[in-house]
Symmetry: C2
Subunit: 157 residues, 2 copies
DNA sequence: CAAAAAATTGACTAAATTACTAGGGATTGG
DNA sequence: CCAATCCCTAGTAATTTAGTCAATTTTTTG
């Protein structure tokens, strides 16, 4: 499979967005600060998420991004495939041709694994994650740290 | 997770070894030809597999490698971890410290995924794979092609 | 209207990792 | 002995990832 920080960042950012969503859109600068992700890099990820129809951008002051669908209708597999293109474990990309146009000895094994991973991540939605205790605790901590930074110290960014 | 061609090659080579194992050891040059893997690269992988105690090497002419245990007692997860060091999906390596020494928002999610993958691959042994039809077919094809090469054509390697 | 806030886009770069090569021993059967 | 084979270490080329930079467009606020 290809699970890199790109996919991880995308899921993290989407979860942050879901957690802080209300009437008003959420600006990427806020997500970048809370989650410690480069703003420019986030912009690239959200461009893909927008093209995939998972978020909508609102321009201008007070703008930002919003989920296009309720959090419990967005699953993790979608998010990763939107930015990573695939969560396939095969070498051949599912085409069964990685040894001289023929399937290699282990093609079926990786196909099975891919399906396993896909099914697991497709079965978890942003809404599911939001309701988990550990995640609420972490999100809370991050919000407090954000306040601390903006009140107590100079912004170093 | 980190599933690269290194891990895939290792599993493929181990499966080839299991399939061709009998009294006599199997030489890496044969595996390299059948599976289209660079010999030097295979040697590096088998060095790790040997250190992990999964195969034993026999030197000298007629030498090669043998499985240290029966095929049904070697599972896929073992093989991958032996060469790839880990099949962890987290960014932090399970330590929960990837955001400024604190767990990031999605740490628990990746932990769950890692366990899912590990359990799946740990539940499959080389013996299981050997008994699958598709794999026998592919192995057979490879053996025929090998013969064709050594009889009909000059070896291009 | 002017200014500012924010998304949007595309090109480019640096760092890291992977896949692979090169070259030399060490062992052992015939 | 000598050829086949494992064994070991370094090094390198290719690929991929993570991230930067700079310019543009759209919209709201004052
Ligand atoms: S992984 Fe699909 S053919 Fe090798
Ligand atoms: S993945 Fe473990 S702390 Fe972020």
């Amino acid at each position: 499979m290809r699970l890199t920080t790109k996919g991880r960042y995308a899921v993290t950012a989407m979860l942050d967005l879901a957690y802080h969503s209300s009437k008003r859109p959420v600006a990427l600068t806020d997500i970048a600060k809370r989650q410690d992700i480069s703003l420019s890099y986030l912009e690239q990820l959200f461009a893909k998420l927008r093209r995939a129809g998972m978020v909508t951008g609102v321009r201008g002051p007070g703008g930002g991004y919003q989920l296009s669908r309720p959090a419990h209708e967005i699953n993790i597999a979608e998010i990763i495939t939107a930015v990573d293109e695939t969560l396939d474990s095969t070498r051949c990309g599912g085409k069964g041709n990685c040894q001289n146009d023929q399937p290699c000895l282990t093609h079926e094994l990786w196909m099975g694994l891919s399906e396993q991973i896909r099914a697991y991540l497709a079965g978890i939605s942003l809404g599911d994650l939001l309701s988990r205790h550990e995640i609420q605790q972490v999100a809370n901590r991050q919000d407090r740290e954000m306040q601390g930074v903006s009140i107590g110290e100079e912004s170093v960014n």
